[in-house]
């Protein structure tokens, strides 16, 4: 593992723990899985992904990578099974930010350019998950 990929895996671990704590507080379930990725030298490294079970709904917290313009890392949150994007987390200057649509006022999920941005905290995660549980509908 390269230094960058080690750092990214550690950042992802931190985010996954934050989500796990919120999911547990909501009395919902989750499951970790290992995701294999390639670092900038082509070597394989692993990060954690998290499948979240919100009642009948499933979400996937899916690390995207660190070799991205304009940020130091990204993690996507998808609604399963169609993999509809419902949020993206960006790592900027050592802090994670949550980009997500306002699900309460949309018949369908807005284009990501119109998503709102907030700091990643336990409160913002809980608010997002509650909003998804209440309003999100899989596209397929």
């Amino acid at each position: 593992m390269s230094e960058k990929s080690t750092r990214f895996a550690s950042e992802v671990e931190h985010v996954v723990r934050q989500f796990e704590a919120v999911v547990a507080a909501m009395n919902q379930l989750d499951r970790r899985d290992e995701k294999r990725m390639r670092d900038e030298t082509g070597d394989v490294y692993s990060v954690q992904s998290l499948t979240i079970f919100l009642g009948p709904m499933r979400l996937l917290l899916d690390p995207n990578g660190y070799d991205l313009p304009g940020c130091d890392g990204a993690i996507d949150l998808y609604l399963l099974p169609p993999y509809d994007p419902v949020a993206t987390l960006y790592l900027e200057d050592g802090k994670w930010f949550l980009h997500s649509p306002d699900l309460t006022s949309q018949e369908s999920i807005a284009h990501p350019t119109r998503w709102e941005r907030s700091a990643l905290t336990s409160e913002s995660i809980a608010s997002l998950l509650e909003s998804i549980a209440r309003h999100a509908v899989p596209s397929v």
Binding site: P82, P138, S139, V140
Partner: protein, 155 residues
Amino acid sequence: MPYLLSEWRAHIQEVWGEYQAARFAVRRLHEQVKADANIVAGEHGVREYLSPADTNLEGTYIVRIFAAFEAALRSYDRYHFDDPERETRAATMIDQLGALNHVRVRIPIRDGVHRVRRIRNFWAHDSDDDPNPMPIDRVRGLLQAYLDRFPKSWG
């Protein structure tokens, strides 16, 4: 090392993500060229082919996204029938694998995937049978929903 379903599905998302980036880039360039065509002066072919590139972008990526899906099906088809050389038509794999007892893809999803396959054929094989268009987000959703029923790993 076993094949992981999550990796096949991640690859479909990567192709879909590339489409989003390419769509944004082509649209922005189109607007900029409309405002000032000099920005592509000397770039052979760009001015001539920018509009068709814009029009055909989604179809082009549907071919790629279906190829990623078909690769996953082929891998499972060869594993399930224990034949590493097996070459099954995409239409047959969609029906056969989706109907397996431990898979059982819902019929509306399977039919939607067949529609995606016909759209792929139209773009990739210049088929005369013009299917109605389908947004790439819907394509991605149907292919992912189909694969959702498969085992987590095989091989």
